[in-house]
């Protein structure tokens, strides 16, 4: 399995080296990389030249086993959005610059646009749709409601997933620590003040529910 662990640094730096290595290993051509699943078979000769590839895979998404036909070069965000109907994971940039596609892999945040679906087999994928349990909002979601967070909210699913990941690592972050841990997500509306209020409230709610 490819190791596509992503690394975030204080200033939101992000390495895609391993992702790109993964794409190359999967044999996707430059012209096709980043685009959608294929139906036409137009590139079939090209792909078959890469060697036999099992496309029918089983993913564990939000606690469910999902069988899905995935080309090797397809990203997780594309599989979630276009094959599994999980459109809560947003595509803001396709290139690991904005974090709108953030999902959890085994509880750790990853950019869905920058990880290949074939590399997450056997791992637990959690998306924004998987946070509620029995109709009850996750503490982070409840915190958003309590604080009236987000404006256009296109970044909200990504930020929400980052907050869930953050709290599992640090249940009581300071405002400053929260900002650092959420620096991989971009909000063009600039609603950062309310986002940090939400993070603080989410930590409080998580602790009281625990």
């Amino acid at each position: 399995m490819l190791d596509t662990q992503v690394i975030q640094s204080r200033r939101g730096g992000f390495t895609r080296r391993k992702f790109i290595k993964g794409v190359i290993a999967a044999g996707a051509t430059a012209s096709a990389a980043g685009y959608l699943f294929r139906e036409s078979g137009m590139l079939a000769p090209m792909l078959s030249a890469q060697g036999a590839v099992e496309r029918l895979v089983t993913l564990t998404v939000n606690g469910q086993q999902r069988r899905v036909d995935v080309p090797k070069h397809e990203t997780l965000a594309m599989t979630l959005r276009y094959q599994l109907g999980l459109t809560g994971t947003k595509l803001g940039c396709d290139r690991a610059e904005c974090g709108a596609c953030t999902v959890l892999l085994d509880g750790t945040t990853h950019y869905g646009c920058s990880i290949l679906t074939h590399s997450v087999l056997g791992r637990e994928v959690t998306t924004i749709e998987g946070l509620e349990s029995d109709g009850e909002l996750h503490p982070v979601q409840q915190a958003v409601i309590d604080e009236g967070g987000f404006q256009c909210a296109f970044c909200a699913p990504g930020f929400t997933m980052s907050m869930v990941g953050m709290l599992s690592k640090n249940p009581s972050p300071s405002r400053e620590e929260a900002a650092e841990l959420l620096a991989g997500n971009l909000c063009r509306c600039g609603d950062y003040d309310k986002i940090l209020n939400t993070a603080m409230r989410a930590a409080e709610l998580s602790r009281s529910r625990a």
Partner: protein
Amino acid sequence: MAENVIGTDISPPDLRAKITGRARYAEDFRAEGMVFAKLLLSPMPHARVRSVDTSRAEAMEGVLGILRASELPQQEQGIGEAALTDEPKYEGEPILAVAAVDETTAAAAVEAIRVDFEQLPFVLDPLESLREGGPDARLDGNVGGRGEATTLKWPNSVFDEAGPDRLPMGEPATEWTIGDVDAAFDEAAVIVEETIVHQSVTHHPMEPRSCMAYWQNGKLFLHGSTQSTERTRGSVARMAGVEADDVVFIGEYCGGGFGSKISGVPSMAVPAVLSRKIGRPVMLRITRYEENYIGRARAGFQGWARIGFRGDGRMTALDLYIVQDGGPYGRASDFSTAGTVATAIYQPENMRFQGVPVYTNTPPRSAQRAPGGAQIVAMLEPLVDKAARELGVDRLEIRKINAPGHDGWLGPNQGPFTSAYVREALDLGGELFGWEEKSQLSGQRNGTKVTGVGMGLSPFTAGSTGRDGLLVIRPDGKLYVHQGIGNLGTHSIADTARPAADVLDLAWDDVVIVWGDTSKHLPFSTVQAGSQTTHAHTRANHAAATALVGLLQELAASELGGSPGDYRVSEGRVFRAGNRAAGLSFAQAAERAMAMGGRFSGEVVPEDLNDATKAAVAGLAGEGLIAAARDNYPQAGAVFTWVATFAQIELDVETGEVEIVDLASSTDCGTVMHPRSLAGQTNGGVFQGIGMAKSQRWVFDPKWGIPFTKRFYTARPPGILDVPLSPRFAAVNEPDPHTPVGAKGIGEPPVGAGEAAYACAVADAMGGLCLCRTPLTSDMILAELEGRPRPYGLLDTHV
């Protein structure tokens, strides 16, 4: 009494959908048989398509159709822009589109198409185009006119006289004067004069302008991302070449627009027309890379300002010249708005404004949050600081001296404002920030860091009148507020419904907002631009709710006897004054209205409603007690909001890096509708302004006319670590007397306030040295601090 909802914090009713993933934005919709389109983008900044060979693409398995510019319905020609073109006027302009069963195939087909281009002259710098013999961005001229391009060239002498560091100022396209500027300069105690440059900035909302369309029974269904809803339908209809009645526009959520998605965007024509051509639903997924090209941008300025002051700090003369970089289409009015906005900051006793909007072969411009306002505020405020230092007047004080009061005036016609609590906002912000103490910290050095303190005052238009409200009480007893406005993220979709709840004295839980789909019978609205919405639609819904109270009273009187005036409306009932039991519940009133018909249930409507509202009411007639009303409340004067922002920064003299230590903003935006959202809007706008002042830029290859700054990482908007952890905010909260609810808009003015506060604070940290340009990147600051020659010319753009 139901709790008054105006002025309290609520959780927006659509928020749960937004944070559970159930909110569907344009790219989240699917349709049976949906296929994908990709665009072929021009590789050149200006060219003519001689021929196109699509044979290889058409032979590919899975390719379903190709759309050329000539197949789009002919809209107004001239300076307008179409979704596709055979004469691309900027690198990245879409030339054709391919539909295929999947996006990979569509992209491969685009690459298999051969286009023969004839290169045409191009220009990136407006001043180059104004030179004799200089290139024009368009074949029909280089300067924006009314509906057509004109040609304007300045003699070489104009450029020679100005030299390399001063704006050449030849014949302007627009000019106006108040008083006698030259005489006022003769008597001025202090005069400051600078050449100024403001960059162009791409909007880059988080959601790119993806769009999905299909046709059913001759009707176009289009899922798009726009700021407005009711007002988008007409522009979609024009793009598709059909009547508005044959368009259903669905836009329940919009992932940000900031002026780039006001009421439809040109690229929507591609899925609209292509889906009809191939008989399949078409999704046009716009990537961030494409958004950089077609996603709109703020117009850039090259300008010059000369400002004269009396000894007491009063601005007696303002002479302003602006050359606008307006991209290749339309007529961005930023430059002329800038002149008007300047009057709303300083009320100069004498003023001259001159400007020229020049076309360039760079991505198209549109309004961007405070178009023209943000640029001029950020350019002039540091100059006022410079004068204040020379005059020995406090920088907050000089703004108070010049700010308009209620007797203030706006623009060349010097018309009145509806209200102007500007000095109150300045005092409030100064106190919140601690200006008196903090301004003493100017220049204080701590290791490698120098403290700078600055402020900016930013006005912008904030309202309009004459829109319609549409309310329905259904037999379930709830109040349905039909909103023609869009859900662009400002929370105004909910907040403008609050006056209806308050007039009816109804609990907020009993209010249902209907929005986001033109088949849901939406009334005529303003476009969601120019910060009009809160003002315009609190008025419209107030008018409709007042009409609804009248209908409820009439209904009760006819049912229970007495005269309408004997009845009160409160907490979901209409009842005889003093006796809650003697009356009807809203549910009963709705049933009664349906039985009575006529003007109670929408069969008869007021004559002065807009046709769109009449059609909406006709679609609802008979479904409950229906009130629709036009906003006929009188108003005299321009509706303006002011924001003041105060910033404390630390400039690292070894790296040129700037950190914002503290930030506080205050506003006069009339009555506060929703405190938490208001603070969010203000802080967000301030941050957007800081992004422009600090880092967001365009850089082009001058030889080929191709941009280098195409993605977030090369022109990054502020992230969470670029702004202070806890910005502070306060509002004057005095109602505007010319509107029943008292509320004015807030969207636009914070941008200029944040940008100016940052620019002034950086100048302050540099001992008052104004670079007079944005963005103030670290390398520019460092070159100044170290006394190295500037790595750019004073008038250079895209650096």
